[in-house]
Amino acid sequence: MTDSPLRRSIGWYRIPILIVAVLTCLLFYLPFLVVVATSWTGTSYIIFPPEGFSLQSYIGVLGDVEWMDAFKISLRVAGIGTVIAVLLGTLGALALTRLRSRAARRWIRTLFIVPMAIPPVAYAVGLYSVSLRATALQDNLGLLILGEALLAVPYVFVMVSSGLSQADPALRPVASTLGAGWPMIVWRVDLPMIAGHMLAGAVFAFAVIFDEVVLSVFLTPVGVKTLPLQMLTASQEELSPQLTAASTLVSMAAVLLLGGYSLFSSRRAARARRLSRKAATV
């Protein structure tokens, strides 16, 4: 190891810290690794360590109409839900910067974030009773998509708000003295600045919605299943390697999505740093 600040400042006391860190990592990833390992077992039931190696459960999942339908439904719900969540979250964050009263800003910010802490079951039951009244919302995915989108709005809101708070507060006044009306300010000043944060919010929203199961239980029409719901039912019927194979596939997708995003954004940040360093030496 090189002469890192950690090593210099705390010397050998860092060893226990490192041990705790490694254990935490293991705690995070061991169960996942077990799931991955069991998915390639040659048996028709889940066993660890796996016996033999075969991709039969993967072929089973990918070839199964029920699994594939659930996957497509989830994709559609998460896709549309993400669009709605990004729209609402961004609008909320933008509106908040235009409020004059500081107290009102604080209250509304809290109201936007609190839903994160409300259990999804509460939403689910509430929306379910709505669906009993409104026949237009029965037997389609509308209510589910709406509910999932609402669950994801706070994530987008937090991301976009943090992006807006990093911007120079003088940008909007300067734009208005330069003759820009509000549509131009939103389109040419606000949105380009928070595009990256909107993308981050979208990634999170998509991941949250794609994995969400509670609302699906209550709000999916009869005979339709989202992927998490399909997994839940599958786990209740029998613990087959198909279930772990599907979990592995979903986890891989999530890792690719989030990992790809963080790689992309850190590269962008590095480029910005390089630019400002260059400017400082000019």
Binding site: A167, D168, A170, L171, P173, V174, A175, S176, T177, L178, G179, A180, G181, M184, R188, V189, P192, M193, A272, L275, S276, K278, A279, A280, V282
Partner: protein, 353 residues
């Protein structure tokens, strides 16, 4: 296009605090006015009032005699350079300068032409495609200036334009901004707390103090004939002595004073007490002598405890002026002494030296 600015008895209250308490100011087209004052004196608020970014409680703002209080910032045709420059970080230099033209829906060809003209004006003609992040502080400021001027505004507003620059660059940019302002011939209002900056750039300096405009005049008149003790002390170094209607009073007889004489350090000289007998003089003990390149700065303390500052030519033999030495200062040219008279001239003025 350059407008005449008139501000009439403007009052602004923020929360409980009265930030502007009846400010009036007039500037002819093409004048460079600097609002000078300590922080919290309301100068930035006044600038925002002119830009339309601050709502006023009462009073009037007139551009060329027309009321503009109800006009939003985007319809006032003002060009503002903010302290942070507020360049749009996601646009190139050229796009930043083109922003006001785009807002005014000018055609692309015209936009390109004006952007080039503006960037040439500020000596950044080759930087059109650079990103603001890759520019130095001085370059960013010039881009902000070019952007503020691009849509041919009637008035240019500069909010602490030099605050983010280092000292050397600051002095260069003061001259540069003055050059550009004269070339464009635009009415300009700048805000600063740096008196040297105010004096370098402006035709008129307006001294603000606690939400009021104390005095507005040319830099020279402000320095030579301040209206009160605050202005005298704020702009340059000043020695304040009691005076009556005839002129300076001998030290120690301040009770009959009805005014305050302002003596600038450069108007004082070291005199021989015997030779200067009969003339006004002040005795004291040297506290500090420092060489500052263009002058020796002599600071002495009178028996009554007042501190007096005197500038001596740089070639003076300062070897006898050691701290603790007795020294007598006299005035070279009594005509240059300015006497501030209080409003109620009949009442003797108690001086707190």
């Amino acid at each position: 296009m350059s407008i005449a600015l008139s501000i009439q008895d403007v009052r602004v209250t923020l929360g409980q605090f009265e930030v502007l308490r009846g400010v009036s100011l007039d500037a002819a087209p093409g004048t460079f006015v600097t609002l000078l004052g300590a922080s919290g004196s309301g100068k930035t608020t006044l600038l925002n009032v002119i830009a339309g970014l601050q709502h006023i409680d009462s009073g009037h703002v007139l551009f060329d005699g027309q009321n503009v209080e109800s006009r939003p910032p985007r319809k006032r045709k003002v060009g503002v350079v903010f302290q942070s420059y507020a360049l749009f970080p996601h646009m190139t230099v050229g796009e930043n300068v083109a922003f006001p033209l785009r807002a005014a829906r000018r055609p692309t060809a015209e936009r390109r032409k004006v952007v080039q003209e503006m960037l040439d004006l500020v000596d950044l003609g080759t930087m059109v495609n650079r990103s603001p992040a890759s520019l130095s502080g001085g370059q960013r400021q010039r881009v902000a200036l070019a952007r503020a001027l691009a849509s041919d505004p009637g008035i240019l507003l500069l909010d602490e334009p030099m605050a983010a620059l280092d000292k050397q660059l600051r002095e260069r940019m003061q001259v540069e901004i003055k050059r550009i302002q004269q070339q464009v011939g635009i009415t300009t209002v700048a805000v600063t707390h740096d008196q040297a900056e105010a004096m370098t750039m402006s035709d008129l300096v307006a001294i603000m103090h606690e939400g009021q405009l104390v005095q507005i005049d040319s830099p020279e008149n402000l320095y030579r004939r301040p209206v009160d003790e605050y202005v005298a002390g704020f702009l340059g170094e000043a020695n304040l002595f009691p005076a009556d209607r005839q002129g300076l009073l001998p030290p120690g007889t301040g009770d009959t004073a009805v005014g305050t004489a302002v003596i600038r350090p450069e108007d004082l000289v070291v005199v021989d007490p015997a030779q200067a007998a009969g003339h006004w003089q002040v005795k004291g003990v040297v506290r500090l002598v420092s060489f500052q390149g263009s002058r020796f700065r002599l600071e002495m303390t009178t028996p009554s405890g007042q501190s007096v500052v005197c500038s001596l030519p740089p070639h003076t033999d300062a070897s006898v002026l050691v701290p603790g030495a007795e020294v007598t200062l006299g005035c070279v040219d009594p005509d240059r002494i300015h006497v501030i008279r209080p409003a109620q001239a009949d009442q003797p003025l108690k001086l707190v030296a």
